[in-house]
């Protein structure tokens, strides 16, 4: 299934009717990276964060704050800055938050994220306040800008940033897949299933949970940096709890404990948000209703429908 999805995404600029669909795909890919990072925390680690936007927004703000210095370093410098910002924010926040469990973890992550949002929103002299920061360059490498269009003519209309977004998403998927399948990932699942037993088996569970929190924040920061580059700005709404809620919806609707599920959920949410919204005003109603239905009747998310179909065949 990942191969099919990848083939569809790679070929997208060739068959898509317009640049609009490429822009939808770019935003879906960015949300997919963000959602996969949350799934590491929620699905694999059993930590329901309601403040994951803090790290996404930090990634975007790092690009906004540092773009004069980062421009020389090109695309990689921006992406690295986003990940670093996520890590730097996640170390102190995580050190305190992962002590809590369940609903308390949820509220604590929310509180910290809203604190970061409050700073971005009010500390105008440092963060740009409600306006945020704009003028961030797309930082698409020159060779991609020039040569890519010759090799891949469709990109002339689609925008070379699609290549950037797709590459980031594929690498994030590969990286997170490796992490979840590693002994570390298995241990994280063990902690989700039974933390006390893991301690009794010799696992320093606090450190594992903190490590997961920081890794998830790094990937959220990567997604945030990508969105800042694509849109050219960082603003407080990227840090607001609505953003944390939206990515949570993506993960739950797509299916927790499956990175592919998170990707699926991200595409679903983006399509509802961007495409359905052009046909009806009531995209939130649709999204909310689907979300409620999934929570009630399909705890495994949309991805579990696919698995059922697979088995029946």
């Amino acid at each position: 299934m990942p191969a099919v999805l990848l083939a569809v995404l790679i070929s997208l600029p060739f068959w898509t009717p317009s640049r609009y669909w490429v822009s939808v795909a770019i935003q879906a890919l960015i949300l997919a990276v963000f959602a996969m990072s949350l799934d590491l925390l929620l699905g694999f680690g059993g930590m329901p964060s309601f403040g994951h936007a803090a790290f996404y927004g930090m990634g975007a703000y790092a690009c906004g704050k540092l773009f004069p210095q980062l421009t020389g370093g090109g695309l990689l410098a921006f992406l690295a800055a986003g990940m670093a910002a996520g890590v730097i924010a996640a170390l102190p926040i995580g050190a305190l938050a992962v002590r809590a469990r369940g609903i308390y973890f949820l509220m604590l992550t929310l509180a910290f994220a809203q604190m970061v949002w409050g700073l971005a929103f009010q500390w105008t002299s440092f963060t740009g306040g409600t306006e945020g920061m704009s003028g961030i360059p797309q930082a698409v490498p020159d060779w991609l800008q020039e040569q890519g269009q010759n090799v891949w003519p469709a990109l002339r209309t689609a925008g070379p940033f699609y290549v950037v977004a797709l590459t980031v998403a594929v690498l994030a998927f590969a990286g997170l897949t490796a992490i979840t399948r590693s002994p570390f990932g298995r241990a994280l699942e063990g902690i989700r299933e039974n933390e006390g037993r893991m301690r009794a088996l010799g696992y320093p569970t606090y450190r594992y949970r903190l490590a997961a929190f920081v890794i998830a924040a790094a990937f959220a920061g990567l997604a945030g940096a990508t969105t800042a580059l694509y849109n050219g700005y960082a603003n407080p709404s990227q840090l607001y709890w609505h953003t944390s809620g939206l990515v949570l919806i993506a993960v739950i609707v797509g299916g927790t404990r499956s990175l592919l599920g998170a990707v699926l959920g991200a595409f679903f949410v983006t399509i509802v948000q961007l495409v359905i919204s052009s046909y009806t005003e009531h995209w939130q109603l649709l999204l909310g209703a689907v979300f409620i239905a999934v929570v009630l009747f399909l705890p495994g998310g949309l991805i579990s429908l696919g698995r059922l179909g697979w088995l029946r065949r």
């Binding site: 590693s182 002994p183 570390f184 298995r186 241990a187 699942e189 063990g190 299933e193 039974n194 006390g196 037993r197 893991m198 301690r199 009794a200 088996l201 010799g202 696992y203 320093p204 569970t205």
Partner: protein, 233 residues
């Protein structure tokens, strides 16, 4: 591994769960810890394993004071335990459960040990099933095997026989009898036959107080034990 618990006291609010209880278990010894419900047996296990900090007293392993070490550090010093209510990883497969145990908190290899462990516990046939789908007897077998897979030198078993059928009980007993002398065994068990079959010494707790400590014959003859424990059951 030698275990010394010195004058352990634990309070839960107004309740004295353990009042200055001492336990000295020699390396390689088989010790049973018995007493009526609420005597403080599991509490003492939690103190030894590191889940509970005692209000006073100290825990020594091979002479080293570990009272302030967290659970996972003691586990890495080869303290293994089982839980009264099976503490498995419900949604992971049986072999994934054991994989976590053979790694003993590290991220390194040793996965190759898993098939042997499955065979030893008689769980090879259900290796790929999630732990939650096992029957009670199989869950108890996995519960014990998780602790054994860590190759403990001190093994704390909390009612390993609870709820087992006769045949399962015999199998579990045989598995415990076969343990090498490099393992020190402390077992909490209500099944008195099993206790007398395994234990070389028996410690009796009642209401958080140690009321007897000796060979099975001594404990059996102890009038306080007969009054408090055997008499009641």
């Amino acid at each position: 591994m030698r275990l010394e618990a010195r004058q352990i006291s634990v309070r839960f609010g107004a309740l004295a769960a353990l009042a200055s209880v001492s336990l000295d278990v020699q390396s390689g010894e088989r010790r049973a810890l018995i007493g009526p419900n609420g005597a403080g047996k599991t509490t003492l296990f939690n103190v030894i394993a590191g889940e509970l900090r005692p209000a006073s007293g100290s825990v020594l392993l091979d002479g080293r004071d570990v009272t302030s070490l967290p659970t996972w550090r003691r586990a890495r010093m080869s303290v293994g335990r089982t839980f009264q209510r099976s503490a498995l990883f419900p949604r992971l497969s049986v072999s994934e459960n054991l994989e976590l145990a053979v790694r003993r908190g590290a991220l390194g290899g040793r996965r190759r040990a898993v098939p042997d462990r499955l065979a030893a516990a008689g769980l090879s046939a259900v290796a790929e099933r999630p732990a939650v789908s096992l029957g009670h007897g199989e869950q108890r077998a996995l519960e014990i095997e998780l602790a054994l897979a860590c190759e403990p030198r001190l093994l704390l078993l909390d009612e390993p026989m609870a709820g087992l059928s006769g045949a399962e009980r015999q199998a579990a007993l045989a598995r415990l009898r076969d343990l090498p002398r490099s393992v020190t065994l402390v077992i909490v068990e209500h099944d008195i036959d099993a206790v007398f079959a395994i234990a070389e010494r028996i410690t009796v707790l009642d209401h958080g107080v140690r009321i007897a400590d000796g060979t099975p014959a001594e404990v059996r003859a102890d009038p306080r034990v007969q009054e408090v424990y055997l008499g009641r059951s």
